[in-house]
């Protein structure tokens, strides 16, 4: 991965940019979300850490479960200027239900979600898929293809993940720019079909 110089011009958006769009890149722990976002982003990826007990309507739920325990959830994100007037943000966070507030923030106004899946740990993807469906976000599955990992036949994976026939399944190497871009494009094409 080529790191870009962090000069001042690279930090800010072009003045002509009018519209910001958002796509989520989600998946279970260590599935490659941060790598994916780092590969695609034009800025060094940024991270915010949210303390889940500090504010918001869902504090009570958390407080009720474990006294004063503070949960920190990290959200990684990157940026891609796609045209003179359009910028796309990619947001990634782990799919755990207790991070309700982060999920509400992330999903509001999102075009859709790319769910990264490790073919060797399919089970761990179930909660993430549930969560994305719960928020009503359209999604595509991107099977992160690590070196040497066997590629499961499409049908087997679809069955294991209980996918709708129209849900796109693509393979992708999150370290590779072109491969990651292809996965995003597969999602966007699917979103287009749904609006027709």
């Amino acid at each position: 991965m080529v790191s870009r110089p962090a000069s001042d011009e690279d930090v800010y958006l072009d003045d002509a940019v009018q519209i910001a769009a958002k796509i989520l890149v989600v998946g279970h722990f260590a599935v490659g979300k941060t790598t994916f976002i780092g590969t695609m982003s034009e800025i060094p990826p940024l991270r915010t850490e949210e303390r889940m007990t500090q504010a918001g309507a869902h504090v009570d739920d958390l407080m009720g479960t474990r006294g004063k325990t503070t949960t920190t959830v990290a959200m990684d994100f990157g940026r891609l200027t796609l045209s003179e007037r359009l910028v796309l943000y990619l947001f990634g966070t782990p799919g755990q239900e207790r991070f309700v507030q982060v999920w509400e923030d992330m999903t509001r106004g999102a075009l859709g979600a790319l769910i990264l899946v490790d073919p060797e740990r399919l089970k761990e993807s179930f909660p993430v898929i549930d969560l994305v469906e719960q928020y009503g976000l359209p999604y595509a599955i991107s099977v992160n293809h690590f070196d040497g990992s066997p590629v499961r036949p499409d049908g087997e994976l679809r069955e294991a993940l209980d996918l709708l026939p129209e849900t796109p399944v693509v393979t992708c190497d999150a370290r590779d720019e072109k491969s990651s871009a292809n996965a995003l494009m597969a999602l966007v094409r699917y979103l287009q079909e749904r609006t027709r």
Binding site: V11, Y12, R79, S83, R108, A110, M185, Q192
Partner: protein, 123 residues
Amino acid sequence: MTAPEEQEPESAGLVRPYVITNGRGLPDTDQFNLITLVTASEQRRAPTLDPEKRSLLDLCSGGYLSVAEIAGHMGLPIGIVKVLLSDLSSDGYLVTRAPAPPAQLVDVSLLQEVLDGLQARFG
């Protein structure tokens, strides 16, 4: 191990955000979401402006950034940044781009623009 009855000492980092917002929680408004694009206005700063708001305005003076980027650069949680932005905005210190339409209103042309952009860049 900490005994249950002992209070865990809270680090400065855990306390600070409350202090910054004077103990207030999130504003109940959709004015700022993660990708609202924000920049500083030309308005002269009041000398009484909080240091955090000052540094936020300094950051925003260079051009447009999303709310998420502001939080990332400042090392503050999103919720805190929203409160600061909300205050600064009502005092006229900020300019925002019109918010994007909610997801259900996303039209085919926006998706096409995203796709074209990706193709042009990576295709």
